[in-house]
Subunit: 357 residues, 4 copies
Amino acid sequence: MKISVIRVPAASPNDTASLQQQIKEGTIVPSQVIAVLGKTEGNGCVNDFTRGYAVQSLRSYFAGLIGGEAADRISFIMSGGTEGVLSPHFTVISRSEEAADSGSDGRRALTAGVAHTRPFLPEELGRSAQIKEVSEAVRRAMAEARIEAASDVHFVQIKCPLLTDADMADARMRGADVAVDDTYKSMGYSRGASALGAAVALGELREEEVSDEDVCQSWDKFSDVASTSAGSELDYCEVIVFGNSVHASGDLYMNHGVMNDAIDAKPLLAMLADNPGAEVVQVLAKAEADPTGIIRGRRHTMLNDSDINHTRHARAAVGAVLASIVGDPMIYVSGGAEHQGPAGGGPVAVIFRRAGA
Amino acid sequence: MKISVIRVPAASPNDTASLQQQIKEGTIVPSQVIAVLGKTEGNGCVNDFTRGYAVQSLRSYFAGLIGGEAADRISFIMSGGTEGVLSPHFTVISRSEEAADSGSDGRRALTAGVAHTRPFLPEELGRSAQIKEVSEAVRRAMAEARIEAASDVHFVQIKCPLLTDADMADARMRGADVAVDDTYKSMGYSRGASALGAAVALGELREEEVSDEDVCQSWDKFSDVASTSAGSELDYCEVIVFGNSVHASGDLYMNHGVMNDAIDAKPLLAMLADNPGAEVVQVLAKAEADPTGIIRGRRHTMLNDSDINHTRHARAAVGAVLASIVGDPMIYVSGGAEHQGPAGGGPVAVIFRRAGA
Amino acid sequence: MKISVIRVPAASPNDTASLQQQIKEGTIVPSQVIAVLGKTEGNGCVNDFTRGYAVQSLRSYFAGLIGGEAADRISFIMSGGTEGVLSPHFTVISRSEEAADSGSDGRRALTAGVAHTRPFLPEELGRSAQIKEVSEAVRRAMAEARIEAASDVHFVQIKCPLLTDADMADARMRGADVAVDDTYKSMGYSRGASALGAAVALGELREEEVSDEDVCQSWDKFSDVASTSAGSELDYCEVIVFGNSVHASGDLYMNHGVMNDAIDAKPLLAMLADNPGAEVVQVLAKAEADPTGIIRGRRHTMLNDSDINHTRHARAAVGAVLASIVGDPMIYVSGGAEHQGPAGGGPVAVIFRRAGA
Amino acid sequence: MKISVIRVPAASPNDTASLQQQIKEGTIVPSQVIAVLGKTEGNGCVNDFTRGYAVQSLRSYFAGLIGGEAADRISFIMSGGTEGVLSPHFTVISRSEEAADSGSDGRRALTAGVAHTRPFLPEELGRSAQIKEVSEAVRRAMAEARIEAASDVHFVQIKCPLLTDADMADARMRGADVAVDDTYKSMGYSRGASALGAAVALGELREEEVSDEDVCQSWDKFSDVASTSAGSELDYCEVIVFGNSVHASGDLYMNHGVMNDAIDAKPLLAMLADNPGAEVVQVLAKAEADPTGIIRGRRHTMLNDSDINHTRHARAAVGAVLASIVGDPMIYVSGGAEHQGPAGGGPVAVIFRRAGA
């Protein structure tokens, strides 16, 4: 098994021209694509339709190449918001079965696996039902990726639903109550429960340690590698697990660190220092405004800004810090890091190409 | 002559509590204050009233201490916009006449001088009249600061007017035409002409090299040390020149560099490397969205975002990059860098306290 | 007792030029001013500093005329947000003691009274403590206005606090829990509790009918005449009661109606039809986005817009509907109508000048 | 020839469920559809991708029913922005050839015709080339609609391109200069030139009366019936002409008026009074912020708001005024009325169903 990771720029959410070029040149083989992770240029909040537009465009493009059923098996995960220097793009993940193992040296290479949960009822969102289902999906994705140890998992990307007005009305009609009755806030609860699910799957938290009450409350409970993103375009969770495996071959591999706050450059600098000569293929990170309103002892204004949502501010800040370090703004930085790394911080992962490869 | 620089946090545009505390403790002497440079938490664009609110609050506070006339001699320069991690604060610049020279070692210390232009007619804004008047004011401020060589100037902060609807109507009534008939755009023209004025004063450009047509057009003409900020609260330009002088004493001194784009960390990293052990007292920088729509070969979306002005994006990005390097978000990063450093980039200056001081 | 109501335009939050003109002309006598009700051009949400800026400017202006202590007795109530056609202005309410009663015909004329509550602890906000204190303040203001029957009250304007991050931290430190742990949402709770307090004072609801649980939940409990506005510039509630009284004289009087939704023109049209020939001196109204997401059977998008807060949309809509009817955009339309009229609707009141006066 | 007009709500830009329902019920026959006029819930400005998303969704849906070639002949015109009470929806225009004339009474019924121009070069946009091409397309659409007199034209909807950064770079490379070098502003120039083209076609202006210099300058030159909308999803202009014709049959017919400003209710009220008993099938109107910054003698703040674009304010205001009058927020109100009605005002048209029909 071998994973390839190719980034293509997007001139708009429906732009597939660069993708087409790569396919024409043979660097991307449509039938091998398992996931597309995108940054689109919407607001990343409730009414961000650039995510759905990109998914519709990509799915339709792939369906024309490999048929609708095969296209439906590709995981399209779009994160809205390219504030500041961030540049809209798609990261195309492919998996081929060539070169079945890594040979005699036993070294681990990048692997990836996908899975999804069942659809959720509105009242299950942001609660233990979601935590449990996500933890099981993460384990299935790990198995598919042939990752044996949780320590070999370096990024778990999860796309999860949110509560629309219609969902809340539906729950009310059935006499069920929802975790939070505000669409924008429901994004945080869904992201948070998904992240806690990943933490449980990876042994960062024990299942009995997390309950409904912890979601968006117990900020000391989190995963170091979860990255979750909410959107209205699905009612279940889609999971992609990235990591290293001896069963994978190729020149790519992955590492991760944890940013303690939005301007914590150390984890990424350390990874670069620890991997001299290696090429940075992609950086994946989460961003959030510190919920205390304070960063490095200074007041920030992200949470009190009624003109720009705090997730937008946070993406602009973290995106610029990381882009500055790697010298490339076409990286994946997603907002809203509830239970993804410590409060105010978040995971940062790097896909490297082995030096000299 | 000795310059002191003290930063005080602001909990809101009208918050003088931390300033009061410093005055009470004697670290700031009201009668010695020559300028207050602030970052306030508005949008930094046309309808940002946090700047005027802060000026009104500060002036009224100082007037209570030293009288209205003395308070009117203090230069209050507010830059709106604390996007991302940036933290609202005031930088209080004081000047005392103690310790008249730097002694026998001839070393240069931080100095500062202020000056202002006459009021401008609407039709003069963003044109050569403004360039000329500003260049003369910069020279007067340099003289006041006792800076002898242009190379000793490290930051020229200029607060300049903009064209309101009323200004444009007034010009029309008198049959005069204005440089640009859009309030938001006029901010760029005024900032640009002010920066070109500084460039002329400092010999970066010759006076005959710049004309009306260059403003917001000839991006290759710029100053490495100008930082200009437009607002509706004045109709003339206020200038503060910062630099080093052998006639100044004290432990503070200044350096500057030029960022080539919004994520160019090198100038600040180089200054820190060149000044080992020195304490960073304040960072002053300009930010802008690259006008080509491209940064490091990647498309950015700042210029096409109709929900958030590009200056807001740029401040969030540059602010985070610099705050990450110095580990402090309470720095001065101002948006809109027309003719202030190269297109897409901008000046960055550091006030240091001598190591071991 | 005689009440005068004069509107003056504001070119910016700190503009007192038109007010000065009226004072110079004698139409406004500074010592008789009891309240200034303003519309300022901020976002009307958490980080709207135009309200505080206007209050500081007005208080300082009046202090220069009548002294600081007298200026402090004037009630300055600013509502942020002049979206759409709405025009920034101040409505100056004065009270003189001349012409003590309405003479032999017993007709009622406009009256107004002011009162304020004690400061609130963070944990009291949006709860029954606030409801109770406000209801008592409304009764005191009615007494001051010499209004005898609740049916003679036509508008109760209340300015109330919100919960800042600091307030919430303070409550946490004391082990107290707050009604809602989100600054923006706390504005709604504070407005809602204030409105319920007015309803209790006016007998629209019985005191035992309302409890903590009703605030921002039981939308069928509301006042027909309350108009409440939250801001960070105070920690208590300020109340102005407007109505008619036989003890008041003059040509002004008041009426009110209740809009059932944001486009319900009927109440205002009916008041105009019922008062032929009377001059409209001012319109006062509340606006909100229907919390069901539906208006007249159609989906609206105000609640799901992450770029513009729903209160801003609602003010733009209601302001335009009412301005269109009276042919004047310089009216008072304030956002966030929790428990002020039915859900999605709100009170609308008119100050008339008697026909032929 | 008979025109049918059916409105269907849209739960999101890609929602075709209500459309499907109408098709299933037979009220809409896919092969007869000539145009879909939509309101989508984006910002209506540069980065509004809801328009393209809706067009892609609708075209794909119709292609599945009638084939790609037939679907490509349908004119999809989307206007972004449903601020305030406005409700996202599609107005589906169909044309059937049944009942070829209006019978013996010679009465005129609603008709519609579509046409499009050739693609434009960037340097042609907002200039006389666009004016000329549009005027010819309007004449072709009139002919197709069998409208004989310009006075029988009641609404001319035109979708036109804008200048993207790429367009401007392309022009620069070829040494051509564009009318305006700002994407957002180019929308106004393109809308303006299109409207002037309609005015020429309808004899409201003579061809020799309009030149490059008039576009977005000579506000006294305008069309009473043009409604133009700019978007990045096309490089030519699409035109739909609506009017009445003796060659059309059916119960629908049209009227129009001109609003003098954003709160001018008179034209719509007059049309309703003149057509007693007739059902309002759809209202179509244009909205803009008065470019003088003044409405009915009062200052408005739409043009100076750097947080919300003025077109968004204007749609919220005009949408609410008209929705209030007809009691329905699911109407077509589009922003940016350059040369469409007088400055600050705009056309308003009504499609009626004959009383008793």
